[in-house]
């Protein structure tokens, strides 16, 4: 296990009577790309501001590189921050903006020039040194903001929704670039976003926040494949979330559990959930791509639930078809099916569906 750059120990923050961040525990490993993901207002910026030192926790402890940060002002924390709106100094050129941190460290003129050049090179913005921020496009300003933050070589860079002001194409391109910059520099990135795709695409670890608490933490594939709550399942990707009752014990050799889909009264088999007792499970989550047509082409070579249903609606998304299927008993499942199966998906037709046991995830709440 690599060393830890940032730790939060039961950190809470109150504004007046409102508890905005509640008892958050985090440890952010050195050199990793960690995203804090959550809906608007869940306390992401507040958490970041506490790490940066702009807000102090009402209770709890924040450690950076092992040292308690209580009473340490932002200017002494030696971390970088990229603001959502960039906050570039409008009266300074690109080079002056990027060199500002080095200048504050009291570096020599040559060191500042060299550091500025290096930072601008890593964000691929050479040749813009003498422009003013307002003479740059949004994407270029964004790069300057990143260059300015990395120029003093902080060990940790915090980024607060740095791509949210850019259009979709640029955002996707910048995702790749930011990830490359992070890997090249080996810097720890703490990346705040409410865009789950962004978090999935870039992160080594994702911390999902909801209403001031950490709802789940883990690798992107884990969070997507094994969401713990219906909030996480719903927030990360698309999913069918169905209330269940009557969770039975493992009945089959592979450890699958038998549960009753409450609305339909249909029993299905679900994957066992480590750390989640059968009595705690309230919902199950089925990703749309796990709902398949149970014919030769869609056959699964693993234990699967077989259901019958009627096709209600089909939307062609190009590579995929999105279909709504009314399962006998009265529940609707959304499914994603490859477009090559278009001929099978006729509205009103009855179809057999296959859902792997392992694809049915039990959720806590």
């Amino acid at each position: 296990m690599s060393t830890i750059d940032i730790e939060l120990h039961s950190v809470s923050k109150k504004f007046g009577a409102n508890r905005i961040v509640k008892n958050v525990n985090l440890s952010i490993p050195k050199g990793k790309f960690v995203s804090i993901l959550g809906p608007s207002g869940c306390g992401k910026t507040t958490t970041l501001n506490m790490i940066a030192g702009f807000e102090s926790p009402t209770s709890g402890e924040i450690r950076i590189r092992g040292r308690d940060q209580n009473g340490v002002p932002p200017e002494a924390r030696k971390i970088g921050l990229v603001f959502q709106n960039y906050a570039l100094f409008p009266h300074m050129t690109v080079a002056e903006n990027v060199g500002f941190g080095l200048k504050m460290q009291g570096r020599s003129r040559q060191e500042i020039a060299a550091g500025t050049k290096r930072a601008l090179k890593s964000v691929r913005l050479e040749g813009f040194e003498n422009r003013y921020p307002k003479e740059l496009s949004g994407g270029q300003q964004q790069r300057v903001a990143v260059a300015r933050a990395i120029a003093p070589s902080p060990s940790v860079l915090l980024l607060d929704e740095p791509l949210s002001n850019l259009d979709l194409k640029l955002r996707e391109a910048m995702r790749v670039e930011l990830k490359e910059i992070q890997q090249d520099l080996g810097m720890t990135f703490v990346y705040v976003t409410h865009d789950q795709e962004e978090a999935m695409a870039m992160s080594d670890r994702i911390i999902v926040m909801q209403g001031g608490v950490v709802a789940q933490e883990g690798a992107p594939a884990d969070i997507y494949g094994r969401p713990r709550t219906s909030f996480v399942a719903d927030f990360i990707g698309k999913s069918n979330i169905l209330p269940i009752s009557d969770v039975g014990d493992a009945e089959t050799g592979n450890g699958s559990l038998r549960v009753l889909l409450e609305a339909a009264g249909v029993p299905i088999m679900a994957a066992p959930m480590p750390g989640l007792g059968p009595d705690k499970a309230r919902f199950c989550c089925i990703r749309p791509e796990a709902v398949r047509l149970a014919d030769a082409a869609g056959a699964l070579d693993e234990p699967a639930n077989l259901l019958t249903g009627t096709i209600q609606k089909v939307v062609n998304l190009g590579a995929y078809l999105e279909a709504w299927l009314l399962v006998d008993g009265g529940i609707t499942l959304k499914s994603m099916i490859r477009s090559t199966r278009l001929d099978k998906l006729v509205v009103g037709r009855r179809v057999e569906l296959a859902i792997a046991h392992a694809a049915v995830q039990l959720l806590e709440e």
């Binding site: 702009f54 200017e75 924390r77 906050a87 100094f89 500002f100 504050m104 300003q141």
Partner: protein, 267 residues
């Protein structure tokens, strides 16, 4: 309809400009008049009245006014910047009340301010402050609200995220003021200071209560001269001070850059 409005707008603009410039033209013409009576003949003009200004009778008051205006502008600039900082930037407790208080002298007529200051100085027994020290204080009272006003507007518009950005880059309080806040409010502060300079340089209603014989400001000297005669030397004084003020504005503009190429806030 729009066209009619546009024409009306142009006519009124021309009228305003004429209203401002025509008297100036008359004064300029009078200042080169060949006879003591103010006349104007294009064929026959002289710069003799300007030559007459090179005399301690006019030079001393001019120098006093310049020193006064410069001192007042710098003092009001420093005090105004500090006041605006705590009121509009740091938002100290009671900042709205303090702001109104700082601006309140604006609504007191200048004559009243002049009388009040003289009464205060004499009832407090501070007779030796009458004259130049009193002038400095009185002119600061006069000009401070304008400087506070303009500096406060600039600080109010200052994007505080820039302060945070500087902070996380390692800038301490003094460095943030020097490298980020001051450059961004400089134009507002300097326009306030320019205004203070002009107000002080031209002031009559307050100065008239405080000047001492032998230590009069230029506008008061002009008024005194007017009691004896209305001759072209007054026109020459006016044109000369006008040129001086213009020069001063250009200088302030050069240092302060009111029309700098950037604007506050980051977009």
């Amino acid at each position: 309809m729009n066209r009619l409005l546009a024409i009306l707008f142009k006519i009124s603009l021309a009228a305003i400009l004429a209203f401002i410039t025509l008297p100036l033209l008359v004064v300029i013409a009078a200042s080169v008049s060949p006879t003591p009576a103010v006349t104007f003949r294009p064929s026959d003009w002289t710069l003799g009245w300007y030559a007459a200004l090179w005399d301690s009778r006019w030079l001393d008051p001019f120098l006093l006014s310049v020193k006064l205006a410069a001192t007042v502008s710098v003092a009001s600039g420093v005090l105004g910047a500090l006041g605006a900082y705590s009121v509009a930037y740091a938002k100290c407790p009671g900042h709205t009340a303090i702001m109104s208080f700082l601006l309140s002298p604006m609504s007191v007529p200048q004559i009243v301010k002049g009388v009040a200051i003289v009464l205060f100085l004499s009832s407090a027994g501070l007779f030796n402050l009458l004259g130049t020290p009193g002038l400095v204080v009185a002119h600061i009272v006069l000009t401070l609200p304008f400087v506070v006003r303009m500096a406060a507007t600039a600080m109010f518009n200052f994007d505080k995220r820039l302060d945070r950005a500087a902070r996380i880059l390692g800038a301490g309080p003094a460095q943030r003021i020097r490298y980020v806040l001051l450059p961004l409010i400089r134009s507002g502060l300097f326009s306030g200071m320019t205004f203070a300079f002009i107000l002080s340089f031209n002031n009559i209603p307050i100065s008239v209560f405080l000047v001492k014989p032998g230590q009069t400001t230029l506008p008061i000297t002009v008024i005194n001269h007017l009691e004896y005669s209305l001759d072209p030397v007054l026109a020459a004084v006016n044109v000369a001070s006008l040129l001086f003020i213009l020069g001063a504005i250009l200088l302030f503009e050069k240092i302060g850059g009111f029309s700098a190429q950037f604007h506050g806030g980051s977009k």
